[in-house]
C-alpha cells in the first residue's frame, strides 16, 4: 500500500503521487484513485471509495421489505432492473413464493434488455476513455430505444422499480412484444456498426490488447465475476450455473475470452449483447399467458431465517443476503456488489502500465460508483 498524502515537492525526480478523481472525467463517477508514478509508469494504486455511500444496508433495516425495493434501483443505476430482480427473488426465496411463469418471462426479457443498456453505456464510455468519441453517441441512440420500452412498461427509464415481490405489478402494454422484436431486429446491425469502428481498428487493438491482464486463477482469487471473469477464460455464468427467473428454458451461449485482457473483455461484452438479444427474442416469442403475480400475503412478513440469492447482473454476481427475524422489516440486508469486488482487482491489473491504461482498465472493469459505495 502506498502513502496517501501527495507531498508538496512534486518535482521530486523519483516518484510522483497524483490523485485521479474524485473529480476526473474518466473515473466513472466519484472514484478516487491515488497513483504512484515513476514518470508515467504506475508503481501502485490505492482506491479511495465511499464518496457515494448512502448507507443502503442500514436503510434496509429500517424499512419494510416492500419499501426497500426502490432503493436497490439506486445502487447500480444503469442496471436497475437487474438489481430489482435480485432483491425480489431473494425475498421470494425467503418466503418460498412461487412466481407465475408469465412474470418470470417478462422479468427475463426486461433484465436482458437492461443488460444491453448497461453494456451500451459501458461501451460508449470505455471507447470515450480510449479516445474514440463517436461510439458514445451511437450507443446512446440505441439505448434510447430500449429505455423507451422500460418507460412504456413502468413509466420510469432509469430507476425502474419494475418488479414486485412475487411477480409483477403491471401487465405488459399493448405492443410490448412488437417493440422488443423491433429492437432485436435492428440492434444486431448496429452492433456490427460499432464493431466496424472498433474491433479491427489498429489503434483500438494496440490500446486494449495485453492491457490489464487478469489470469483465470487470479480472477478467481480476486473474486471478480461477470464479463471480467469470463474474459479470463472461466466459463461461469449464474444464469447457467444456478438458473433463476426463466433462464432455464432459454437457449443461449456464454462467451468467454482467453487472455483476460481488455480486448477480450470488450469482445465478451459485445457477444453478450448478442446473446441477450437472443434471450429477449425467445422470451417474447414464448411469453406464456396467465397471472403476473403469485400468492403474496398482504403484509410481507417472511419467517425467521436467512437466504443468500445471487443473480448475474451485467457487471457480475449481484448477491443479496437477507436475514429475517420474522417481522415486517429485514433484520439485515447485505448486498454483494459486483463492481465493488471487481474494482479490487484494479491494482493488480494496472501495475507496471501507464496512466493511459489506468483509464482503459477502469473502463473495462465497468464499475458504477453507486454500487461500489452503496
Amino acid at each position: 500500500m502506498i502513502e496517501t498524502s501527495p507531498t508538496s515537492t512534486f518535482l521530486d525526480a523519483n516518484e510522483l503521487v497524483i490523485n485521479m478523481g474524485p473529480q476526473h472525467p474518466s473515473t466513472h463517477g466519484v472514484l478516487r484513485v491515488i497513483l504512484k508514478l515513476d514518470g508515467e509508469k504506475i508503481l501502485g494504486t490505492e482506491c479511495v471509495i465511499g464518496y457515494l455511500h448512502r448507507g443502503v444496508e442500514k436503510i434496509a433495516e429500517n424499512r419494510t421489505y416492500m419499501q426497500f425495493a426502490p432503493y436497490v434501483d439506486r445502487m447500480d443505476y444503469v442496471a436497475a432492473v437487474s438489481n430489482g430482480l435480485g432483491y425480489c427473488e431473494a425475498v421470494e426465496k425467503l418466503m418460498a413464493i412461487e412466481v407465475p411463469p408469465r412474470a418470470k418471462y417478462v422479468r427475463t426479457v426486461l433484465t436482458e434488455l437492461n443488460r444491453i443498456t448497461s453494456h451500451l453505456l459501458w461501451l460508449g464510455t470505455h471507447a470515450l476513455d480510449i479516445g474514440a468519441i463517436t461510439p458514445l453517441f451511437y450507443c446512446f441512440r440505441e439505448r434510447e430505444e430500449i429505455l423507451k420500452i422500460f418507460e412504456n412498461y413502468c413509466g420510469a427509464r432509469l430507476t425502474t422499480h419494475a418488479f414486485r415481490i412475487g411477480g409483477l405489478q403491471y401487465e405488459t402494454y399493448n405492443g410490448f412484444e412488437e417493440q422488443v422484436r423491433a429492437v432485436c431486429d435492428t440492434f444486431p446491425g448496429r452492433l456490427d456498426e460499432y464493431e466496424m469502428l472498433l474491433t479491427n481498428n489498429r489503434i483500438w487493438l494496440e490500446r486494449t490488447k495485453s492491457v490489464g491482464i487478469l489470469k483465470a486463477d487470479e480472477a478467481i482469487d480476486f473474486g471478480v465475476t461477470g464479463p471480467v471473469l469470463r474474459a479470463s477464460g472461466v466459463k461461469w455464468d449464474i444464469r447457467k450455473a444456478m438458473p433463476y427467473a426463466a433462464y432455464e428454458e432459454m437457449d443461449f451461449d456464454i462467451p468467454t475470452g482467453e487472455n483476460g485482457d481488455t480486448y477480450d473483455r470488450y469482445l465478451v461484452r459485445m457477444e453478450e449483447m448478442r446473446q441477450s438479444l437472443r434471450i429477449a427474442r425467445q422470451g417474447v416469442d414464448r411469453l406464456p399467458a396467465g397471472p403476473i403475480i403469485g400468492k403474496v400475503p398482504k403484509v410481507i412478513k417472511p419467517p425467521v431465517g436467512e437466504v443468500y440469492h445471487s443473480i448475474e447482473a451485467p457487471k457480475g454476481e449481484l448477491g443479496y443476503y437477507i436475514v429475517s427475524d420474522g417481522s415486517t422489516q429485514p433484520y439485515r440486508v447485505r448486498v454483494r456488489p459486483p463492481s465493488f469486488v471487481n474494482l479490487q482487482a484494479l491494482d493488480r491489473m494496472v501495475r507496471g502500465l501507464l496512466i493511459a491504461d489506468v483509464v482503459a482498465v477502469i473502463g473495462t472493469i465497468d464499475i458504477v460508483l453507486g454500487e461500489v459505495d452503496r
Binding site: 500500500m1 478467481i220 403484509v299 431465517g305 437466504v307 427475524d325 479490487q344
Partner: protein
C-alpha cells in the same frame, strides 16, 4: 397495503427485534434443519476437536464455525473441498446474543457448482483471523465489515475504514447505531455544515 405496513412499522424508529434469527416465537417458521452431507462429514473428520454445526434452510446450507478455527477451516474448504471462490463476506449484529456478531462467508465451488455459508460468532471484544491469505478478495470485504461493525481482523494487510472517512467515529451497521445517528463532529469539521440531516 402501504398503510398497513406503515402501522406495523411504527414511527420509523430503529428496529429493536427481540432475538435475532433464533427467535422461537416467529410465525410458522420452517425451522433450520440439520444438514449432513459429504462436505460436513469430511469436515468433521478433518477437524475432530472442533464443534461444527451444520444446518440447511430453503435448500441453502450453512455451517457454524468457532472463531478460533476459521482460518484452518477456510484453508480446508479452499484446498480440499474446492470451494475456491469467496462470493461474499459480511457480518450481522445480534446484540441479545452472547456472542454479538456473526461473520458470514458465502463460499462457492466452481467444481461442485455448490454454495455453502460459513458463520462465525464473534464477541464484541474479540477479533478473528483474516482470511486474506486464503482468498485475496476478502481484503476489501473485511475492511468493509470492520468499517461497518468494528469487528477486528487479525493479520489483515491494511485494516482501515473503506466506505466511511478514516476519522469517522462509530460503526453504523451495529444495531445500537440509530438511523439518524452520525458523527456530528466529523460532519461539522469537514463539511462545514451543522448536520447531515
Amino acid at each position: 397495503m402501504a398503510d398497513e405496513q406503515k402501522k406495523e412499522e411504527g414511527a420509523g424508529a430503529p428496529a429493536a427485534p427481540a432475538g435475532g434469527h433464533a427467535n422461537p416465537a416467529a410465525p410458522a417458521a420452517p425451522a433450520m434443519e440439520p444438514w449432513d452431507s459429504e462436505v460436513v462429514q469430511s469436515l468433521r473428520k478433518s477437524f475432530p476437536g472442533v464443534d461444527l454445526e451444520a444446518f440447511s434452510f430453503r435448500g441453502q446450507n450453512l455451517i457454524i464455525v468457532p472463531r478460533e478455527s476459521i482460518l484452518p477451516v477456510a484453508h480446508f474448504f479452499k484446498s480440499e473441498l474446492k470451494f475456491d471462490f469467496l462470493s461474499d463476506l459480511t457480518a450481522a449484529d445480534y446484540p441479545q446474543k452472547e456472542k454479538r456478531f456473526e461473520v458470514v462467508y458465502q463460499l462457492y465451488s466452481f467444481k461442485r457448482n455448490e454454495r455453502v455459508r460459513l458463520k462465525v460468532p464473534v464477541g464484541e471484544t474479540e477479533s478473528l483471523e483474516s482470511v486474506v491469505p486464503v482468498w485475496i478478495t476478502a481484503d476489501w470485504m473485511e475492511r468493509e465489515v470492520y468499517d461497518m461493525f468494528g469487528i477486528h481482523f487479525d493479520h489483515h494487510p491494511n485494516l482501515k475504514r473503506i466506505l466511511l472517512p478514516d476519522e469517522w467515529q462509530g460503526f453504523p451497521l451495529r444495531k445500537d447505531y440509530g438511523i439518524l445517528q452520525q458523527d456530528v463532529k466529523w460532519v461539522q469539521e469537514n463539511l462545514h455544515i451543522q448536520s447531515g440531516q
